[in-house]
C-alpha cells in the first residue's frame, strides 16, 4: 500500500487569529493627539491616533502590544479598559507577555496602572533605552497629575518602581524566547531613542508590530529597518497615511537660517520643545551648525528632565545614526560643547542667545516665562517645532494673534517673530509602503491613524502591493486565517533516491516524490514505502488490474499469443517483450494471456493485467483499428490490436 504525497503539505485551516482592540465606545474614549509628536489635531470615531493598546492572539498565545494612556482625559477613560481582556480572570493567566515599543506615554503611560493596580505579573519586554527613560517620564507624568492637579487614585512612585522590576530588556535583533513556543525579536524603528518594532513568532506564524517608526533618518537617529521576515501580519502605525513629506534638508536649512539670522541681528531665539525626542535632534542640529560656522553665541537648554534624558542619550550610542556612531570615539555628539544648562537669571542677559525650553506648546512653565519676557522685542524670535493644541499660547500666536490676554487681565503684545517648523518623526505614506515592501507580509493591519486617511492607504496597499489590508475600529477584532506550513521530516535515503531521479534541482518549485507519510505522536515523517511497511509490521500486497479483451479469432491460444508477441515485439522496440514458456506474453511488468472461453470457440479472450504502480512504463500502442480497453481506474491505457 502506498500513497502519493507532495513534500510540502498545507492544510487550509484557521489556526491563528489576531485581534486589535482599543475602545470604540465610552470607556475607550476617542483618540487624542499624540503626546510628544506633532500629530493630527482631531479624531474620528473608531481609529485612534495616540494611545495604543493592541491585543494579539497568535496560535493560542496572547500578547499585548503597548500599554498607552490617553492624554486627553483626566478620568478613568485615560487608561484602557483592561476588564475587556478577561471578564473576571487574572490578566497574568491570560497574557503571555506585554511588549512596549517605545517610551512615549501614549505607548507606555498605562503600564504601572496595568501591572500594579489591575494586576499583571508576567514579563514586560522593552529595549534598554526604553527601560531607562520610561520610568523618568512616568514619574514626571505622575508628579503633574498628582502633585499639581491633586488627583487621587493614581499610581505611586513605588508602583512605577515595582512595575519596572517586571521589565525584561531586549537587544536589537535578539531573539527572546518568552516560552517554549513564543519568541520575540526587536528591530530598529528610528522615531525616538530606543524605539523598536517587534516580531512575535509562534511556530511558523508571525506578526510584526511597528509601534511608531520613521523611515527617513534624522540628525540623531537612523531609519527604521526590517528584514524580509514575511510575517503573516504586519501591524503598522499610519499617522501620516495621506502625506508625502518634503526632503528634511529644506526644513533643516530653513531652521538654521532663521536662527542664524536672528542671532546675527543680536536677537534672542526661543525654541519651546518637549523634553525628549525632537529636542535632542534640534540640539544636535544647532550644535553641529555652531561648530561648523564657528559661532560663539550661547545656547541654553532648560534643566531638569532634559538633562537626565541627555545623559541616557550619551549612553545609548549604538541606537543613534551613522554619523554619531562613527564619531563618538573622538567625541560623543551628545556632550554638547556649545549648549549649556539654563538658569532663570540668564533670560535677562543682554545680547543674542538661543534657548530650548519646555514645554513645547507654551502653555505653562519655563517656556512661557521666557516667552513673556522676550515677546516685546521685534528682534527676538520664537520657533515652534511642533504642533500646538487649540487653546494654548502656542496655538494662538501661530494663528497670528498679536495681543494675548494673560492671567490677571494683563495684555501681552507680541512683537517678536513667530516661526513654525515641522519636525516629525513618523513615516509618511511612502515610508509605510516602503516598510511593507521590505517585510513582505501576507496582510497588513493599520492602526494609530484616522479612518479616512487609513482608507486611502489601505486602498493603495491593496492595489500596489497586492497585500490584503485591514483597519479595525477600536474594540473591533480582526481574525485572520493563516495557512501554516507543517514541517515533515523526510528520511535522507528517500530524499537522495528521489533527487537522483530528477534532472536539475529547481529552487522553490514543488516536486513530486513517492513515499509514505506517517503521523505518529504529533510529528510527521515521510519515509519510503518499504520502510513504512517494515515499521508498521505490515505485509506488502500487490494490486493488479486486469481487463479482458474479446477477439474474434479462430486460431489456437498459442498461435494467438505468438501473434500478439510478434506484433508487440515489432511495435515496442524499446521495451522488453518476452514470450514465456506457458504461452503468456510479458511486456515488462504487464502480463498478457490468451485464453479460449469454452462456450465459443470462435472468440478468444486476451487477459491484460498490470500492477498499480506501473507508471510511465511501456505504452503499448498498435497501428490498426480494433478494440479499446474499458476505462480503468489506475491509468488510461489504450490497447489497439490487429483484427
Amino acid at each position: 500500500m502506498s500513497v502519493h504525497t507532495a513534500a510540502s503539505v498545507s492544510f487550509p485551516q484557521c489556526i491563528g487569529s489576531c485581534r486589535a482592540w482599543g475602545g470604540s465606545t465610552g470607556s475607550w474614549g476617542r483618540g487624542a493627539q499624540h503626546c510628544l509628536s506633532p500629530a493630527l489635531p482631531r479624531v474620528g470615531a473608531g481609529q485612534d491616533v495616540g494611545r495604543s493598546c493592541i491585543l494579539v492572539s497568535i496560535a493560542g498565545k496572547n500578547v499585548m502590544l503597548d500599554c498607552g494612556m490617553h492624554m486627553g482625559f483626566n478620568d478613568d477613560r485615560r487608561f484602557p479598559d483592561f476588564s475587556y481582556i478577561t471578564q473576571n480572570g487574572r490578566l497574568t493567566d491570560f497574557l503571555d507577555c506585554v511588549i512596549i515599543s517605545h517610551f512615549h506615554l501614549d505607548h507606555c503611560g498605562a503600564l504601572p496602572y496595568f501591572s500594579e493596580m489591575v494586576g499583571y505579573d508576567g514579563p514586560i519586554y522593552m529595549t534598554h533605552p526604553t527601560q531607562a527613560i520610561c520610568p523618568i517620564l512616568l514619574e514626571d507624568y505622575r508628579k503633574i497629575a498628582v502633585d499639581k492637579k491633586g488627583e487621587a487614585n493614581f499610581f505611586t512612585s513605588q508602583m512605577i518602581k515595582d512595575c519596572m522590576k517586571k521589565v525584561v530588556a531586549v537587544h536589537l535583533h535578539q531573539t527572546v524566547q518568552v516560552d517554549d513556543e513564543l519568541e520575540i525579536k526587536a528591530y530598529y524603528a528610528g522615531h525616538v531613542l530606543g524605539a523598536a518594532m517587534f516580531q512575535i513568532k509562534v511556530g511558523s506564524e508571525s506578526v510584526v508590530y511597528t509601534g511608531d517608526y520613521n523611515m527617513t533618518p534624522d540628525r540623531h537617529l537612523g531609519a527604521a529597518w526590517i528584514d524580509k521576515c514575511r510575517p503573516n501580519l504586519l501591524i503598522t502605525e499610519s499617522t501620516y497615511a495621506t502625506t508625502i513629506r518634503d526632503s528634511k534638508r529644506c526644513r533643516e536649512r530653513d531652521f538654521l537660517k532663521k536662527v542664524h539670522e536672528t542671532v546675527e541681528r543680536g536677537g534672542k531665539v526661543l525654541i519651546p520643545v518637549f523634553a525628549l525626542g525632537r529636542a535632542q535632534e534640534l540640539c544636535i542640529l544647532l550644535e553641529t551648525f555652531w561648530e561648523r560656522m564657528n559661532l560663539k553665541v550661547p545656547i541654553y537648554f532648560s534643566t531638569g528632565l532634559t538633562e537626565k534624558a541627555n545623559h541616557y542619550y550619551k549612553l545609548f550610542i549604538p541606537w543613534t545614526n551613522q554619523k554619531i556612531r562613527k564619531t563618538f570615539v573622538q567625541r560623543n555628539m551628545f556632550e554638547f560643547k556649545h549648549i549649556k544648562a539654563f538658569d532663570r537669571a540668564f533670560a535677562d542677559n543682554p545680547g543674542p542667545m538661543v534657548v530650548f525650553a519646555t514645554p513645547g506648546m507654551l502653555h505653562a512653565g519655563q517656556s512661557l516665562q521666557i516667552f513673556r519676557k522676550w515677546a516685546g522685542n521685534e528682534k527676538n524670535m520664537v520657533i515652534m517645532p511642533g504642533y500646538c493644541v487649540q487653546g494654548t499660547v502656542g496655538h494662538k500666536i501661530l494663528s497670528g494673534q498679536r495681543k494675548l490676554e494673560m492671567e490677571g487681565r494683563q495684555v501681552l503684545e507680541v512683537k517678536m517673530q513667530v516661526e513654525y517648523m515641522s519636525f516629525s518623526a513618523h513615516a509618511d505614506a511612502k515610508g509605510i509602503m516602503q516598510l511593507v515592501g521590505q517585510a513582505e507580509p501576507e496582510s497588513v493591519l493599520l492602526v494609530h491613524g484616522e479612518a479616512k486617511k487609513m482608507e486611502f492607504l489601505k486602498q493603495k496597499i491593496e492595489q500596489e502591493l497586492r497585500v490584503s489590508c485591514y483597519m479595525p475600529a477600536n474594540g473591533e477584532t480582526v481574525t485572520l486565517p493563516t495557512s501554516p506550513s507543517i514541517p515533515v521530516g523526510i528520511s535522507l535515503g528517500l530524499l537522495k533516491r528521489e533527487m537522483a531521479q530528477g534532472l536539475l534541482p529547481e529552487a522553490k518549485k514543488p516536486r513530486l516524490l513517492h513515499g509514505t507519510l506517517i503521523m505518529k505522536d504529533s510529528n510527521f515523517r515521510l519515509v519510503s514505502s518499504e520502510q513504512a511497511l517494515k515499521e508498521l509490521g505490515l505485509a506488502e500486497h500487490q494490486l493488479r488490474f486486469t481487463c479482458r479483451v474479446h477477439l474474434h479469432d479462430t486460431r489456437k491460444e498459442q498461435e494467438m499469443a505468438l501473434r500478439v508477441y510478434s506484433h508487440l515485439k515489432s511495435v515496442l522496440k524499446d521495451h522488453c517483450v518476452q514470450h514465456l514458456p506457458d504461452g503468456s506474453v510479458t511486456v515488462e511488468s504487464i502480463l498478457i494471456q490468451a485464453a479460449a472461453p469454452s462456450e465459443d470457440p470462435g472468440t478468444k479472450v486476451l487477459l491484460v493485467s498490470w500492477t498499480y504502480q506501473v507508471r510511465g512504463g511501456p505504452q503499448p500502442t498498435a497501428v490498426s483499428t480494433g478494440v479499446t480497453t474499458p476505462p480503468c481506474p489506475a491509468r488510461p491505457m489504450v490497447l489497439l490490436l490487429l483484427p
Binding site: P217, W225, C250, T288, G400, E419, Q434, E464, E506
Partner: protein
Amino acid sequence: MAAHLKKRVYEEFTKVVQQQQEEIATKKLRLTKPSKSAALHIDLCKATSPADALQYLLQFARKPVEAESVEGVVRILLEHYYKENDPSVRLKIASLLGLLSKTAGFSPDCIMDDAINILQNEKSHQVLAQLLDTLLAIGTKLPENQAIQMRLVDVACKHLTDTSHGVRNKCLQLLGNLGSLEKSVTKDAEGLAARDVQKIIGDYFSDQDPRVRTAAIKAMLQLHERGLKLHQTIYNQACKLLSDDYEQVRSAAVQLIWVVSQLYPESIVPIPSSNEEIRLVDDAFGKICHMVSDGSWVVRVQAAKLLGSMEQVSSHFLEQTLDKKLMSDLRRKRTAHERAKELYSSGEFSSGRKWGDDAPKEEVDTGAVNLIESGACGAFVHGLEDEMYEVRIAAVEALCMLAQSSPSFAEKCLDFLVDMFNDEIEEVRLQSIHTMRKISNNITLREDQLDTVLAVLEDSSRDIREALHELLCCTNVSTKEGIHLALVELLKNLTKYPTDRDSIWKCLKFLGSRHPTLVLPLVPELLSTHPFFDTAEPDMDDPAYIAVLVLIFNAAKTCPTMPALFSDHTFRHYAYLRDSLSHLVPALRLPGRKLVSSAVSPSIISQEDPSQQFLQQSLERVYSLQHLDPQGAQELLEFTIRDLQRLGELQSELAGVADFSATYLRCQLLLIKALQEKLWNVAAPLYLKQSDLASAAAKQIMEETYKMEFMYSGVENKQVVIIHHMRLQAKALQLIVTARTTRGLDPLFGMCEKFLQEVDFFQRYFIADLPHLQDSFVDKLLDLMPRLMTSKPAEVVKILQTMLRQSAFLHLPLPEQIHKASATIIEPAGESDNPLRFTSGLVVALDVDATLEHVQDPQNTVKVQVLYPDGQAQMIHPKPADFRNPGPGRHRLITQVYLSHTAWTEACQVEVRLLLAYNSSARIPKCPWMEGGEVSPQVETSIEGTIPFSKPVKVYIMPKPARR
C-alpha cells in the same frame, strides 16, 4: 632629533638590505634550481602523517619556483595526490597546482590532462572546487587554445549538477571566464558541440543557493567583460532577481541590468499590467531607481552609482528622479524648492513667517497617486536623504554625471545639490560642492540659491571654504544684487578667516571678469565715491579693500566705461596693485596712460610659433656640434644655454622644454670642459690640483641628470635613456679622475667592477633602445666589453678616457609635454618679525601650506626639510592625507611641521623648504629574477637622494629654556 637620527639609520640600513638581497637572490637561484623538486619529493616522502605533509607543503608554498622546474614539481605533487587519502592535503596540492600553473614562462597545458583526470575521481567537494579553480588558472593562462577551452567548459558543465554550492560556484566562474559564444569551432566538434554558455549560466539564476545565484550573475558579467554580447532575454531573468532575498544577489543583479540596458538601450519592453511599451533603458532606469530604496545599503550604493552612467535615459524619466509628489491630507503640496522659486519670481523674498505658509493647495485624485510603483520617482530625493553617507556620496556623484550630460537636468538638480551643502558629513558637503563646480557651466544661480551657497562660506573647514571659492570662480550669477551679496559674504569670510586671503582674491578675480556688466552699477557704492564730495582714501594694505579692487579691475578689463567712475587714488592704487599683484590685476586700458602691456597680450599668440621655431633651430645648431672645434663648441653651447634660459623666462609654456634642454646642454658643456683640461696628460702627482675641476664637473653632471630624470613630468623612456647615458659618462669621468689621483690599485679594482656592473645594468634595462645610441659612448663601450672585463683597472681607465673623448654628442629628442616640477610655499610667508616662541625640548607646530605644480606622485616624493641655524637638517615626511589635488598637475600640501630644539639665547631663523625625493631603482622595471620573489617593501620606498625644488622660507623661532 632622536627620531630623525633613527630615520637616518633606518634609511642606510635599508640600502644595505637591498644590495644584499640582490646578491643572495642570484646565488640562491643557482643553488636551488636542480634540487627544488627533489627536496620536495624527499620532504613529502618523509611525511608520516597528513598534518606533516601539510606542513611541508605550506613551507614549500612560501618560496617561488622557477619556470624551468615547475613541471618537475607538478609531477611530484600529482604523484602524491594519487596516493594521498587526506582531503586537506589533496586540497593544498590542488591549490599549489593552480599557483604553479600561474608561474610566468610555464605553459600549463601539459598538466591539464592530469588535472581533469584527478577531477573525475575526486569525491570531496572542497577538493573538487579547488581543482576547478586550478583548471580556471590553467584556462586563463592559455586564452588562445580553443580546444582546451572547450574541454574545460565541458568539464564545468558536467560538474554543474554537483550538490555542493562551492563546486557549482567554481563551475560557473569557469564558464564565465572561458565560455564562448562562437559556434565557428564546430569543425572539431567531436562530441564537444558548442554550447550556449549563456543559456547554461542563465539556468542557474534560479538555483536554490544564493551564493550560486550570485556566482551565475557574476559569470554573466564576466562574459560581458570578455566582450561577448549578452542576449536580451537575460534582462527579464535579471529583473526577477531584483527581488531576491539576498543582498549580494540583488547587488549583482543591479549590475547585470545595467549592463543589458547599455547593450540594448533602444529595444522596447512591455510594461506589465498595461498595454504600454517603453524603451529598455528607461525601464532599467526605473528598476534601478527603485533599488535606491532597497533594504540593504550595499545595494543602495551600487544602484545609486550605476544611475550616474545611464546617460541614454529619456529626459522625462530623468527628471522624475527629482520629483517626489508631496501631499498632505491628500492634498497636493508644493515642495520648499517650488515655493522658493515662486517667491523669487514674484519678487517677494522668503518670509516663511506665515502660519500655514506651506499649506497644501489642491485636492489630489486618490486614484492617481502612486506610492511605490512610480519607478524613477524621487530616487535621488531618497538617495540624497539616505542614512548612510556612502549612499549619499554615490547619489551626489551620479547626479553630477547625469547633470553634465543634460543641461536641463542640471538646472533641476541644483536645488538638491545646494541642500547637500548642509549635510552632516564633511565629505558629502565637499563632494557636492565639487559636483556643483563641475556642472556650473550649465547653470545660473538664483539669488536665493546663491544665498544658501554663500552661507557655507562661514564653515570652519578650510577645504570646504576653498572648494566654495573655486565654485564661485566659475558660477554664473544672474543679478547685481547677487554679485553684491557674494562680495559681502566673501569679505565677511575674509575677516573671519584671514588665511583665506589668496583664495578669496582669486575668486573675486574670476567673479569680476565673468560679470563685468553686473559689477558696473555697483562701482560707486563699492568704492564709496560720491558725486560731490571727496571721500577718504582707503587703506591700501587692507585685504578687504584689495579684494574689492580686484573685483572691480577685473570687471573693468572688458568694460571700458568703468574707469571713468574711478577716483584719483583708485588709479594710483591700480598702478601699485598691477605691480605687486600682477597675477590678480589685469592690464587695463586707462585713459591718459600708455598701454604698455596691453599690446603684449595679442602678440603672444602670434609669437608662439616663432619661439618654438627658435627653440628648434638653436637646438639643431647644437646637435650638429661634433664637427666643430672644441673651443667653438663650448662657446656655442654657452650661447645656446643662455638663449634657452631667457626663452624659458619669456615664454612660460615653453619653460619646461627650454629648461630641460638647457640642463642637458649644460651637462654636455661640463663634460666637454672637463675633457678639455690641458693637464690630462700630465703625470699623476702634478695633476692633483686640476682634478678638482674635473671631479666637480662629474659631480655636477650627476646632480643635473637626477634633476632631469625626476623633476620633470612627462619625461618618456627615450629621454631617460639619454639621461642615464649622460650619467654613465659622468661616472666614467669620475672613475678616470679617481684613477689618476689615488694611489694603489685595491680601491680601483672595486670601482672598476662597479662601473662595469653599471654598464651591464644599463645594457639590460635599455636593451630596446640600444640601436638608437649609435656611435655613442655606451655603444663603443659595449663593443669593447669582453676586453674590459678581462683588463686591469689601469687599462680600463685608459680605454674609457679615449672613448669619452671620441664619443659623439647624443641628440636629445624633445618630449611632447614636459613641465618642470615647482613648488611655492605660501605659508609661512617668512615676513613676520615676531618669533615663534616655545619651550625648548617641547615641540611647536608650524603650519605649512604650499602649492606644487607638475609633481608626479607627491605623496611619496615630496618632503619638507627644516634647516636649523646650527646646520642640523631635518626631513619630514608629510602624511598622504595632507595632499589635496585641486586640479590636473596641481597639488596642494597643507601640513604641520613640528619644530623643536634646545634653548637659544636669541631668536633665530630656520629655513623651511620642500624637497623632491627620488629613487632611481623604483622607476626601472624590476629585475626578472626578482619577480615573484619577496621584494622587501623598503626597497620600493627608500630614498636615494633629494632635490630641493622650492625657495626656502625663513621662519623666526625662539626656543626658550624651560622655567623651573
